[in-house]
Amino acid sequence: MDLSFETVIGLEVHVQLATESKLFCSCPTAYIGTEPNTNVCPACLGLPGSLPSLNRRALELGVKAALALDCSVNAMTRFHRKNYFYPDLPKAFQVSQYDIPLAVSGSMPIFLEGRVKNINITRLHLEEDAGKLVHKTADGRLSGASFSLVDYNRGGVPLAEIVSEPELSSPEEAREYVLTIRRLVRYLEVSDGDMESGSLRVDANISQKCSDGRWGSRVEIKNVNSVRAMERALEYEIIRQREILLNGEEIVQETRHWDDGAGVTRSSRSKEEAHDYRYFPEPDLPPIKIDEELVKYIGCSLPELPWDRRERYIREWGLSQADSVSLSENQDVALYLEKTVAFGADRQLAANWVRTYILRLQNETGVAINDLAVGPEDLASLLVHVKQGSLSSTAAKDVLGIMFALGVKVGAAMEKSGISAGGVSRDALFETVARILEANPAETGVIIAGGDTAVRKRKYLMGLVMKEIRGQAAGEEVSAAFDAVLGSIRDRSL
């Protein structure tokens, strides 16, 4: 009998919240590139006698993310202690949440090849990060060390853990889910969502359901440090688990670590192994009542969510899938686009130009879109000319370059470049067309004889005209002039 399998994946995504200070003390959250153990205090070092005080900003950012994920925010929430010994955990417990997390029961749509799938979110809770162990030898190498160093600058940095239901059925879906969360937290400015630096971390739970009714045990995969690594780890794990089941064996429920270099997952015999965390309510932090007004306020001030915006661009604006994704990913970009349209630009035209030129300018210069010399109003007035045909795309691109370089408005930029809207007079245009046709008798002859069925020759000649007039007329105008001049040549030759 041929067996088939279904893959079941659930993800735990840890997002570092973009607060200035740590979750339970006022130390700065900066830990990358800081001198080790400088952003610390008695509280985040867990010194005897120290106590935690909750950072309200972290709570607010957690609520913001939770509402965007359509979760219900609990009216009362509380923290628990998760107890285990490890040198990067200075109190030997992590303050986390357990039975009453900040928020529960949400969902988030992910887009897969034109199909939308809603992934249910089990919960979102807050917790503190641990410190960082550095394994370093005396000569500074990182392997073969006989001792480890620990840096507590990261200890106590606020994290939101977002737990999905086991509803993802492939590594591709898992990938799309993580990318969607990353876009969301960046969009909401809840986190920088950077996986490489560890601001966004993923643990994946994966199991197999066999067509003969067997359910493989769940395996947790840790140490995936990029979306690609997660996909590879899941792909590897699917094959490994299916082979075990095909051999009629049982899958061990365990935590496995992804070895990116070797491209395999390995059974972990470290701190996560068979732990009893002895969770109990953190007695140093009374339960927190979450103000209903605050939740309402945060809910009302949430921007249009990226997936809603994307849908709107597709349905109402008629933009392509690709345009919609890239233009809805970042709130500032989306607002720039929408303002450009509000100032009178055509939607599709604005979408093309923002995606092609404005984003490029932003990337090339590193200047935030809101600080670019060319604002939505300037772009809109440029695009109005393009739409009306008084500027060709080529000319408009030159004008935009000047607007950007000199920080001037459309009018001044056109003057500067010697281009003016509807720049060539009708006479000048006709004269140019006539000159080009005369200078290219062979092509002209074919056209007049009706031999240019593929319109290649006409296009070639029109290109020459455009070049001559430096794009200062719309294509239709040039085309009309072409027809007129060709007509008169035909008349003359009769």
């Binding site: 070092l45 935690p52 010994f85 109990f280």
Partner: protein
């Protein structure tokens, strides 16, 4: 002048008015301490030089016309589980080694700001676990009223310091009776404030939901004086109640119990209670009655039956987590080992004493998966019922009058190998911690053999000033406790 017999309020006003100097007062108290310390071992770390320097700075302030603060020049002792910047803080344990905190506990800051002179850090049962100060890595302390007997615990060193006249006031911490029981044993007053009245920032935690800092004193007015200094909102302790505090010294100006209802707990008048203590309760009740109070019967069956087991699940459970940080990685003792786990095990086995290890094991067990519901969760439910029971009792009574301890101070070594009997010493005090209430041991003199007698009074949450008012009435009748030298001088 014999400064070490004086009340703190008298010392402070004498220094403020230029009648005598802080240097003289501190010198006298240090001499007293140095004479008795070889016998009492009430201090783990005496701070003589620091104290003299501080006294001199107080004198300088006074002579330049500055106010030295409400406790200006008053010598005090603090329990060695309160963090003192740059000064060794041991918790009576080996595991902290020579650790010097980089910060002061909030109560230390407040005392310093008020001009108090810390002359030493007091001996205690290791991590405040014990009722005799015998479980100290620095050797047992003795009771100044009878040096063959224990001073009680865990704040035995602080209680002994006040009873012996090292200082007029001292700070202790009380998780299940660790202020009130040693106060009773040493014959001084001891107050455990309402949970959340005094900041715990800088108090090395034993059981976070029960721990509370409070004072020892030989007079109710000194008690009020120090409460006015240490009872203050602190944002660094999330369990500290926001808002103002009553002026405690005002509440004892014209103390009266007229028309107040005093509850007597029938369940606590059982056969195990020492006869002298029982009579002390009865005498206090009749005095209060003749002063215009009404004596009413109340019932606390849950506290009587389940208080002790409930406490001995919750406190060790929290302790097992609070004490997990002592792993030899960052500070304190480290026993080197070839691997991490062995280093943890060796360090903790060598650093913690037997009683602390017992409680860590008990607490770890109570929180373990499969046992959590049967132990920890059940204990939380019982705790809830004890709270409700007290709330109901306070519908009938303004204060509850009950014993602080079931027995008079026991002899050294008497219960050292019998933890359960030792635990019984706190049977009347620990329900008060479970309910977060204020409770106070008020000294009521001595029995025929010269051992201290006392009563415990308990009030509703945040009614700490009511306790002081009652204590003032009892003190006016029973007299203020004096000092003892334990026969040494």
């Amino acid at each position: 002048m014999i400064f070490h017999e004086m009340e703190a309020s008298r010392i402070a006003s004498g220094i403020r008015d230029g009648e005598f100097t802080a240097r003289d007062v501190v010198g006298d108290c240090l001499a007293r301490m140095q004479a008795l310390e070889p016998v009492l071992n009430a201090l783990i770390t005496p701070l003589s030089e620091k104290a003299i320097a501080k006294a001199e700075s107080i004198d300088k302030a006074v002579s330049s016309g500055k106010s030295p603060g409400p406790l200006g020049g008053v010598p005090v002792v603090v329990k060695d589980n309160m963090c003192t910047r740059g000064v060794r803080t041991t918790c009576g344990s080996r595991i902290l080694g020579d650790w010097k905190p980089p910060y002061d506990a909030t109560v230390i800051e407040l005392l310093e700001k008020a001009g108090a002179v810390v002359i030493g850090k007091s001996n205690m049962d290791e991590f405040a676990m014990g009722s005799s100060t015998e479980h100290s890595a620095f050797g047992p302390a003795s009771n100044p009223r009878d040096t063959d007997r224990v001073p009680g615990g865990s704040s035995g060193g602080s209680a002994a310091s006040v009873a012996a006249g090292y200082v007029p006031i001292a700070l202790g911490s009380d998780t299940g009776g660790s202020i009130r029981q040693p106060a009773a044993f040493c014959g001084v007053h001891g107050l455990k404030p309402t949970y959340g009245l005094v900041s715990r920032w800088g108090l090395v935690a034993f059981a976070s939901s029960l721990d509370q800092i409070g004072p020892f004193a030989r007079s109710v007015s000194d008690m009020a004086l120090v409460m006015d200094v240490i009872a203050s909102y602190d944002h660094k302790d999330s369990t500290c109640r926001p808002g103002g505090r009553p002026v405690f010294s005002e509440s004892i100006k014209e103390p009266s119990v007229k028309g107040k209802k005093v509850g007597i707990v029938r369940e606590f008048q059982n056969g195990t209670l020492d006869g002298d203590i029982e009579r002390s309760i009865e005498n206090t009740a009749s005095m209060l009655s003749s002063s215009g109070a009404e004596i009413v019967d109340i019932s606390l069956p849950e506290s009587a039956a389940y208080g002790l087991p409930c406490y001995y699940i919750i406190a060790p459970a929290e302790a097992s987590s609070n004490l997990a940080r002592f792993d030899g990685v960052r500070y304190g003792l480290r026993e080197e080992a070839p691997d991490l786990i062995s280093q943890f095990l060796r360090t903790r086995s060598a650093g913690f004493g037997e009683e602390v290890q017992r409680r860590i094991l008990t607490g770890t067990f109570a929180l373990s998966s499969g046992y959590y519901d049967a132990y920890y969760l059940l204990a939380l439910k019982v705790r809830r019922r004890i709270c409700v029971e007290f709330t109901q009792a306070f519908e009938a009574a303004d204060v509850i009058l009950m014993p602080a301890t079931p027995s008079l101070p026991f002899r050294k070594g008497e219960f050292i190998d019998d933890p359960i009997s030792m635990y019984m010493s706190d049977v009347f005090t620990l329900p008060v911690n479970l309910a977060g209430l204020p409770g106070m041991t008020v000294s009521t003199g001595m029995n025929a053999s010269g051992l201290p007698l006392s009563v415990q009074i308990v009030a509703p949450r945040w009614a700490d000033s009511r306790l002081l008012e009652f204590a003032a009435v009892i003190e006016a009748w029973a007299g203020r406790p004096g000092i003892s030298s334990g026969g040494v001088l």
